[in-house]
């Protein structure tokens, strides 16, 4: 009986506050996406750069690692002192946390491309940029997408803490639920969408990753090929 009423309550809250929850949902998602977008604009080129100049790779990755170790709440507090309250501060925090997975995966993806394939490209008369564009990036693409996936999932979590510095995220509902008596339904109304965004992003990008994996594409290839051959 109690459980049923909880579920009923949950849905009632959802239906009466649908547009509000939706607004927060979009807000939450956008902050994550913006942060990761900016991070990839910086992180991917940086990853390419350190894959090319091995000497600076250790330094860059170490710095990104150090950023990653700072607890989110502490990071937000520090940024708040400089940037004030609000959404932008949260986006900046997401940016900082997204850097490490993006840089690291871009770097790893590029350096793990088989040296003999890169050598072949160079010996055919490809310029350095052609080797990057025609060989390294296509072969590393799935690993780079993997970095974006991790970054986005991390971002959802970072944004969730953003409510404490005045950003409007789904956590707003959770906080309200914890302050209210019998706020269980409210807590769920905030927590469930957060979990759903994270899971959808993770599953969706994983599929994309597999699809872009050059080795997988070929394994599918021969089957289709031999079918047409036999016909």
């Amino acid at each position: 009986m109690v459980e049923e009423s909880l579920i009923q309550e949950f849905f009632r809250y959802f239906t009466t506050n649908g547009s509000y929850i939706f607004e927060l949902f979009i807000n939450h998602l956008l902050m994550s996406v913006y942060g990761v977008l900016f991070a990839s604009l910086v992180g991917i080129p940086l990853g390419i750069l350190i894959a090319r100049y091995a000497r600076i790779s250790q330094g860059v990755i170490t710095v990104a690692n150090i950023i990653q170790t700072v607890p989110v709440i502490a990071m937000l507090a520090i940024l708040m002192l400089v940037m004030g309250l609000g959404n932008n501060t949260v986006v900046l925090a997401v940016f900082l946390y997204a850097l490490l997975p993006i840089i690291k995966n871009t770097y790893t993806g590029l350096i793990e491309v088989d040296a003999s394939i890169k050598d072949a490209g160079k010996s055919m008369g490809m310029t350095r940029n052609q080797v990057l564009r025609m060989i390294e990036l296509p072969l590393a693409l799935s690993v780079i997408i993997g970095g974006l996936r991790i970054a986005l999932v991390v971002a959802i979590g970072v944004v969730a803490v953003g409510s404490f510095i005045g950003a409007s995220t789904l956590t707003d509902i959770i906080i309200r639920g914890t302050n209210a008596t019998d706020g269980t339904a409210m807590i769920l109304a905030g927590a469930v969408p957060i979990a759903i965004i994270a899971i959808i992003i993770d599953v969706g990008l994983r599929l994309l990753e597999n699809r872009l994996d050059p080795l997988r594409a070929q394994k599918k290839g021969p089957k289709a090929q031999s079918v047409t051959d036999n016909m």
Binding site: I117, L215, Q218, D229
Partner: protein, 388 residues
């Protein structure tokens, strides 16, 4: 002409990988760099297309100094075949073949045409063009690797141990193919190997290297006859020296006249001939004596049972040698491929003879160990060029 003068590569302060290498390579020549590992042969090869920048020395192609050319442009003019093949896994075979033409911005039709032309050249079906490299066997991949180096009509092809990663039979077939291509296209091939058999088989000239220096640069025959020093003698091995002492016989000396039937004859006729002469294999020719295929006793049994025609059951895939090829090469091939006999043909595929294992054994005993005091009782497997 490819002329190399004083080519030197120094790593660090004094490690000389290649030391003052000077050779001339004529157009259309097939040259092998051979040596033990660390002899600088690969470094020397890679300096030719500036994959490695020489420390010193001059390489000129038809009078043009490579040093003064843009390295990227230079590499597009020189074909390069790698030991690891290095096909791009995310591109189809067609895209792989026309990679250099694409870099040179050829129009699409010309690239398509070239891809079709080239895949035929290495005896692979056109349907392979749309496949991915991982769907091909190692030997097929290396065939693509070879034609990729020819796609932009390069005049010079460099090959870095191109057959090193292949199994012996595939290697053998590919060597034949490459030699045939080189003769047909008249291009200059420079390749690196550590396999003396391969060098003797393919190369017009062999450049033996040790510690970055050229020890001997000459034709295979001259090297076998007059090794420059003990190093060369050790390197080519006593066995080969002995094999080559009897003034370079061609297969003509060892062949017998084979029994043949015409392609239009009946199966019964073939059987009666085979029965009459007590032979297990019969060769099939057309009216102008061109070799078409063969039948062996197993095929006949099968054919008689099915009441098939001769033309339907004959085996068309037949290994043959040219009448001018050297006997020692054929010996190796027969041993390596484990075939019973090899037909001998003229340039136009006209059948002129047959080499059987029995006739080879005769000639080997007569001419190679016949006048030797101590008869060598070497294990035949030692002579078939075991890889290092």
């Amino acid at each position: 002409m490819l002329s190399i003068k004083g080519l030197t590569k120094v790593y660090g302060r004094k490690t000389k990988a290649v030391d003052n290498l000077s050779i001339e390579i004529e157009d259309g020549e097939f040259v092998a760099f051979i040596g033990t590992s660390g002899s600088g042969k690969t470094t020397a090869l890679r300096m030719l297309n500036r994959m490695i920048e020489p420390t010193d020395g001059v390489v000129t192609i038809n009078g043009m100094e490579t040093k003064k050319m843009d390295p990227v442009e230079l590499r597009r003019k020189i074909g390069y075949v790698l030991q690891q093949v290095g096909l791009l896994p995310h591109m189809t075979i067609k895209e792989n073949i026309v990679l250099v033409p694409k870099l040179l911005k050829w129009p699409q039709e010309r690239k398509d045409e070239k891809a079709k032309e080239l895949i035929k050249l290495v005896d692979l079906p056109e349907s392979f063009l749309d496949r991915y490299p991982s769907e091909l066997s190692g030997g097929q991949q290396q065939r693509i690797g070879v034609v990729r180096a020819l796609a932009a009509e390069q005049d010079i092809i460099l090959m870095d141990e191109p057959f090193g990663a292949l199994d012996p039979i595939t290697r053998d077939t590919l060597q034949d193919l490459v030699k045939e291509l080189q003769k047909k296209l008249g291009k200059t091939f420079v390749f690196v190997t550590h396999d003396m058999d391969e060098a003797i088989k393919l190369a017009d000239k062999i450049c033996i290297m040790s510690h970055g220096k050229v020890v001997q640069y000459d034709t295979p025959d001259n090297i076998l006859k007059n090794p420059a020093n003990d190093f060369v003698r050790d390197f080519i091995g006593e066995n080969r020296l002995i094999q080559d002492r009897p003034n370079m016989k061609t297969v003509e000396k060892a062949m017998i006249i084979p029994k043949t039937v015409n392609i239009d004859d009946s199966l019964d006729h073939a059987v009666s001939i085979m029965r009459e002469y007590r032979i297990d294999t019969i060769l099939i020719t057309n009216k102008s004596q061109k070799l078409l295929g063969y039948l062996d006793i197993e095929d006949i049994k099968e054919g008689v049972r099915k009441k098939a025609e001769l033309i339907d059951i004959m085996q068309r895939d037949i290994y043959r040698v040219n009448i001018n090829s050297k006997l020692q090469d054929s010996v190796r091939t027969i041993l390596k491929r484990n075939v019973r006999n090899v037909p001998v043909v003229e340039d136009d595929n006209k059948l002129v003879g047959l080499i059987t294992r029995a006739s080879l054994v005769d000639i080997v005993y007569d001419s190679i160990w016949g006048d030797d005091e101590e008869v060598q009782t070497s294990d035949p497997s030692k002579d078939i060029g075991v890889d290092i």
